[in-house]
Amino acid sequence: MIIYGVSLLAFCMLVGIFIGDLLGTLMGVQANVGGIGIAMLLLIYLSNLSNKKLQLGSITESGIHFWSAMYIPIVVAMAAKQNVIGALSGGWMALLAGVAAVVASFLLIPVIAHFTPRAERGNSDVN
């Protein structure tokens, strides 16, 4: 049933967020530390595990694929609810601080990618 997939997804997300909150409290910061990342790892782990032990049915999988496919429209909705006025209202200093941080980070991507040995990168291209 489709709900099994949706339910598995919900389980992963809630467990991830809980662990993230727990990590945040342990570190003494008022934030969730990697909760969604942990949820993603958990989903990958569970879906690989079940490939050997108990197969996820294709209908169950479609409950997860649906939400994965809804990703882009959800992100567009997220864009439409951003506080764009707030971003522009902070004056030149806030704009410059944001822009400079982005430019510096963009420039560093090829540098870090370059530092690691080619063999480790392998043929990681996806199409």
């Binding site: 997804l9 919900a10 997300m13 967020i17 993230g20 570190m27 910061v29 934030a31 969730n32 530390v33 990697g34 969604i36 990342g37 949820a39 993603m40 790892l41 989903l43 990958i44 999988e61 997860i64 694929h65 939400w67 994965s68 990703y71 882009i72 429209p73 992100v75 567009v76 909705a77 997220m78 864009a79 439409a80 609810k81 951003q82 506080n83 764009v84 006025i85 707030g86 971003a87 522009l88 902070g90 200093m93 704009l95 410059l96 601080a97 944001g98 822009v99 400079a100 941080a101 982005v102 510096a104 980070s105 420039l107 560093l108 991507i109 870090i112 990168r121 990681s124 291209d125 996806v126």
Partner: protein
């Protein structure tokens, strides 16, 4: 009378209206992408840009802080585009991710989160100093805002910064987030953002989950899980480092 009834239906069933509206917006965006740019600019990039423009107009019209979602008939966009659904969809994208790719870039991904926080913090701090700020609390809060718009207020509150400085840090973080959304597809080729490996570095360096989520969606949706994975650790690490170690460094230098 009929218009009023229609508007009432739309705002009463806000989330459903949002599904309808986003479907129309996506269709329009892919149409523009194909006809006007011959597919040069990806449909989702067009959609995200239109979304941001609508958010600007919505904010201008209502004076609120939630963009288009502050208009009653579009309030469902606030639910659909809120953190809960966004994170649910992000987790779902991990389903197709390859474990070997994650393992291969795991260490570099983790390192890039720390490098990303430190880099954005100091770039923001230097800009603050350039604009004449001398108080280490203000400099650190603005630097933290250049990391993300969550790290800024968390740091500012922890250090006891004034509310106008915190507002500035949020604005810096929002600028970063919007720029990452719009800018990523344009620079993707130049910075080699075309494989899971560099996507993980990208997510770690940028850190803004919304920016990374939208930036990768507009570049290549297959890269989303890799970038999102590292980006979700960024805010936590930022909240950890900015008010402590990084603040102490700023205070020692100032």
């Amino acid at each position: 009378m009929l218009t009023e009834m229609l508007l009432a239906v739309l705002s009463k069933n806000a989330l459903i209206s949002a599904f309808l509206f986003m479907g129309l917006l996506m269709w329009l965006s892919y149409f523009f992408s194909e006809k006007l740019t011959r597919g040069q600019i990806h449909g989702s990039a067009v959609a995200i840009t239109i979304g941001l423009v609508l958010a600007y107009l919505g904010g201008k019209y209502t004076g609120g802080s939630r963009g288009l979602a502050d208009i009653a008939i579009f309030s469902g966009i606030g639910i659909m585009g809120g953190a809960m659904f966004r994170d649910f969809a992000i987790v779902a994208t991990a389903f197709g991710a390859k474990t070997d790719e994650l393992k291969k870039a795991g260490r570099v991904g983790a390192a890039s989160v720390i490098i990303g926080v430190v880099l954005s913090f100091f770039v923001g701090a230097i800009v603050a100093v350039g604009f004449g700020y001398k108080d280490p609390v203000a400099i650190s809060t603005i630097g933290a805002g250049a990391a993300t718009y969550i790290v800024g207020p968390v740091t500012g509150t922890a250090l006891g910064a004034s509310s106008d400085i915190i507002a500035l840090s949020v604005a810096a973080g929002l600028t970063k987030s919007v720029l990452v959304m719009v800018g990523t597809p344009f620079v993707a080729k130049k910075i080699g953002l075309n494989n899971p490996y560099s996507a993980m570095i990208y997510g770690g360096l940028m850190g803004t989950t919304s920016g990374v989520a939208a930036g990768l969606a507009a570049t290549d949706p297959k890269l989303v899980p890799y970038g999102a994975m590292t980006a979700t650790f960024y805010t936590g690490v930022g909240c950890l480092l900015a008010p402590s170690l990084l603040f102490l460094i700023v205070r020692a230098l100032a």
